[in-house]
Amino acid sequence: MPNLRFLNMSANGMAFDPETGESYQMNGSAQFILQSLQKGLDSQEIASALSLKFNIPFEKAHTDVLEFQVQLEMMAKAA
């Protein structure tokens, strides 16, 4: 998992990567997933939590988590 996992996050959705100096902006669901990743949860666990928090079907949450993880990987490679 890329350095994005170790981003310093603020409450308003801004994040800073101390290794690269890059800053990121994210929405609420992205922030929730990233925080869950940093806690060491796997994608199924995160999807369950996301489903509960936002009252969305687990299947949709699972897709969104997997897709977002891929996006993080792509951003890390690009950085």
């Binding site: 902006q25 994210m26 929405n27 992205a30 969104d64 996006q71």
Partner: protein, 442 residues
Amino acid sequence: MSNDYTKPSIVKVGNPLYAKHGSSAQSYHFVRDAIEGVKISDLVAQYGSPLFVFSERSLRLKYQQAFKAMQRYYPNLVFGWSYKTNYLNGICQVFHQEGAIAEVVSQFEYEKARSLGIPGNQIIFNGPHKPEGILRRALLEGAQVHADHFYEIEDAEKIAKENGSPITIGIRINLDSGIYPLWSRFGFNLESGQAWAAIRRIAESPHLRFGGVHCHIGTFIMDPTAYSRAIQKLSKLIREAESLVGYNIEYIDLGGGFPSMSQLKGVYQPPEVAISSVEDYAESIGKELQWLASRKPAPKLCFELGRHLVDEAGYLITQVVADKALPDGRRAYVLDAGVNLLYTSTWYKYKIELDRDVPGMMEPSILNGPLCMNIDVVDEAILLPRLPRFQNLILSPVGAYNVTQSMQFIEYRPNIVMIGENKSISLLRRKEGLEDLNRLEG
């Protein structure tokens, strides 16, 4: 599902699009929930997506504004509706009702105008390809024909000879009016003497009569003074031609080329700033034509406006089919309409509106069409909030050239409707089906 859930989104700060848009990058301001008072959602529910929508009110208003502006300077004014710009019957009929004659550039368009009840003597026939059969019909029906090359002068002479009476014909002229690119491929070049040779060829034929000159200097001409320069050159030629033939010409046809309020790619300023008003064009043209306007009777002054009249009346409603993150950080959307319907997307950056306010942070995005072709891109750089599946987008202006040049390629072509001045909706052309395409095959 929770109303406040938005799919996860993360963007790197510092994307050039943010720098360009500044604080506006925090929300998407372009929202349109209706066209001429009819809800976008209702239109999609009834006619599906994608869907071309035209406003009758806009068509009539643009025509009346342009005609009024020109009429201030010239008494004997004729507008020919440029069929190639949009030859849907319903669109042509609106302009004909407003008083426009037809301007056509092919056998197909000539036949279409005639089928709409336009008499031959109310048709201007331009273009580089006029097969002898349709040229004969047009000339014998009294159409205003502009020869594009010497072969057409010879063809007209032959037809007149066979018919036993002289036939009137004009010529298309190309010239350097100071704009780029120079459209030298159509008609006879003025500066080289080619136009003068064509006039002499007509004048010296006992079977032909010289009617007038046609000069369409280009498209999306953003400088009104280009028309002034063209008219100065044409005026000199007209005086010489009239001296040669011994009578006054019947008409001068300045073609079209006025821009619409579209955003040309590569032009930084928005169209509201970059595009001059139709009154500015009228003034530039009218002042140079005073010497003809004061004649009794003045020769006809013809215009063949297309884009300027119809572009802003046209909208395309399209829906989000899918989205994905690209390795370069952009969000890629798939729409159900692409370059198959938006031929002009190569040159113009459309205004893109949503039919509701979509909250959320803005992402650098690319809008792709539905074709399984890498070239199918509608907008390669736009900041958008994360759009859900089936979100309606409204693209405009798309009234000029997109319907006539839309392709039956991979996808069926969609329904096209017009919203009338009384807000009634009429189907201008129904969606294609497999039976339509199979009918042409063996």
